[in-house]
């Protein structure tokens, strides 16, 4: 289907890191069912390194592909590197997304940051709240 790049279709048809982590160190969920997409990210973190990551996504093809690609991009990386992941990088790694699907890559970035925020909260690590977007009030769902 020409709507999506081969990379998007590959990650949609064969998503990497699907599932949950029962004893996750950080869990992030963004989006809502009303808008038609929800992403949930589970992180396993050891010595500031993301040793495992899983996701579950309710959403369109590009939402599932963005989740898959974003989890691949942070797996094995330090939490500081993961914090620098941008939606643009996710979209580029997927060889681009249609304009009206770019918010899917935004959701992937936000889901990961949300999970990292949860990790910081659980471990009493100080952070700047401005670094974490507030998904509930983003323009996409309004």
């Amino acid at each position: 289907m020409a709507l999506y790049s081969e990379a998007v279709m590959d990650h949609f048809m064969h998503p990497r890191n699907v599932g949950i982590i029962e004893d996750a160190d950080g869990v992030g969920e963004v989006g809502n069912a009303k808008c038609g997409d929800i992403m949930k990210i589970y992180l396993k973190i050891e010595n500031d390194v993301i040793v495992d990551v899983k996701f579950e996504t309710f959403g369109c093809g590009s939402a599932i592909a963005s989740s898959s690609m974003a989890t691949e991009m942070i797996k094995g990386k330090s939490i500081h590197e993961a914090m620098t992941l941008t939606n643009k990088a996710v979209a580029e790694a997927l060889d681009g997304l249609p304009a009206h699907k770019l918010h899917c890559s935004v959701l992937a970035e936000e889901a990961i940051k949300n999970a990292l925020k949860d990790y910081y909260d659980r471990n009493g690590i100080a952070y700047d709240p401005k670094e974490f977007p507030d998904c509930e009030h983003c323009a996409h769902c309004e």
């Binding site: 279709m9 969920e29 808008c35 997409d37 309710f58």
Partner: protein
């Protein structure tokens, strides 16, 4: 196996329609408005096509206007009735909440011009009753425009009853019959229809051509000015190949309706029965009064676009009313109008059949759809929340 189950979007052309068109590209290529013999040959074909379409609808040939398709016919019918009404200080229109956008957007344009539109509620049985129309008619009502059958969920509306009510009340009645023409028996005189829109490519005819039936004497306004074609009501040299293809396709559909449609309806019923077994799913549309080829479901916990992509990977071409397939953020207005909330409207699937589908294809759909729904649920956080009780099932 490739299964085309999106016949409400468009159909494959029939061989008869293709054969009916081909002479008019290179052999009978004249302009029907030309005086010479080449033009007059074309004029004869145009007249014959008009007579054929008229026979299929139960009207006179002069009551048929050829258009570029259903949308143009809808626009012209509604705007004509609105202008005629305004001359008599009547600016109220009755329609339904689940009309096609060709109708809805035209009505919204009129609302901005000061017309008032009553959109009949379609939550009960996913349909309207003739009584709802009767109750909505006012002294200043200038038009009732309700679709013959809904394109997304397949509900067939009580057109003959509505026609009788409109006739009694003296209110012009238009019906957008794009999904019905060639699939259901239509007789505009018996059903008291004043205007009816149809589109050729929904019944194995060509794309880019349609027709508007207008009861003799009803004053039409032109959308396209510039010539005396179509009795001066629709300018532009006629799309003769398209018109001849449409006439042949409609005639073929009407002649074989009684053998084809029960077979299509039987396949539809197998699909409805089979897909109803999927837990937390719901059929959309009127179960009793339903297009022979329409199957529409909502599956909770999944999103429609990913469903379509996976079905396509299994060779099944279908459609969905999810936001992601529409390019907007809201799911289909039809699903919302029948009362589906956003959460489940995103997980909709429409399979629309024609007589070209086979029982083997239905078997394939019945094998694949439950698998794909189950897979998408397995990776859905919404489904997990539903299963663990963190979220309440809607369906």
């Amino acid at each position: 196996m490739r299964v085309y189950a999106d016949n409400a979007a468009t159909t494959a052309m029939s061989q008869k329609a293709v054969d009916a068109m081909t002479p008019y590209f290179r052999n009978i290529y004249g302009n029907p408005s030309s005086l010479h013999s080449v033009g007059q040959e074309a004029k004869e074909a145009l007249d014959a096509a008009r007579a054929s379409v008229a026979r299929c609808l139960g009207c006179e040939p002069r009551e048929i206007i050829f258009t570029s398709g259903g949308s143009e016919a809808d626009n012209q019918a509604i705007l004509s009735a609105a202008r005629y009404g305004a001359r008599k200080k009547k600016k109220h229109i009755i329609s339904t909440a689940f009309e096609h956008h060709a109708v809805l957007h035209t009505l919204q344009k009129l609302e901005r011009e000061g017309y008032e539109v009553t959109y009949l509620d379609v939550k009960k049985n996913h349909n309207i009753t003739a009584q709802q129309v009767r109750d909505a008619i006012r002294p200043d009502t200038c038009l009732v425009t309700v679709m013959y059958a809904n394109n997304e969920i397949g509900s067939v509306l009580p057109i003959a009853e509505i026609g009788a009510i409109c006739k009694e009340a003296g209110v012009p009645f238009h019906t957008e019959a794009v999904q019905a023409a060639g699939h259901l028996h239509i007789n505009v005189k018996e059903q008291n229809i004043d205007m009816l829109s149809l589109s050729a490519h929904k019944f194995h005819g060509p794309k880019g051509v349609g027709a508007l039936y207008v009861r003799r004497g009803f004053p039409l306004v032109n959308l396209i000015e510039g010539g005396a074609q179509e009795r001066g009501k629709r300018a532009g040299t006629e799309n003769l190949p398209g018109i001849c293809g449409m006439a042949a396709a409609l005639q073929d559909a009407c002649e074989h309706m009684d053998e084809n449609m029960p077979r299509v309806a039987a396949m539809r019923d197998r699909l409805i029965e089979g897909l109803s077994q999927i837990p937390h799913s719901a059929l959309n549309g009127d179960r009793e009064n339903r297009l022979p080829g329409n199957v529409s479901f909502c599956f909770e916990g999944i999103e429609g676009e990913s469903l379509l992509l996976l079905l396509d990977a299994h060779g099944i071409c279908a459609s969905s009313g999810s936001a992601c397939t529409s390019g907007s953020l809201d799911p289909s207005h039809v699903l919302l109008a029948i009362g589906r909330v956003h959460d489940v409207a995103h997980g909709s699937l429409r399979l629309s059949l024609s007589e070209y589908n086979t029982e083997e294809e239905i078997d394939h759909i019945l094998t694949v759809v439950p698998q794909v729904v189950s897979y998408l649920r397995s990776i859905s956080p919404v489904w997990r929340d539903l299963q663990t009780g963190k979220r309440q099932y809607i369906l």
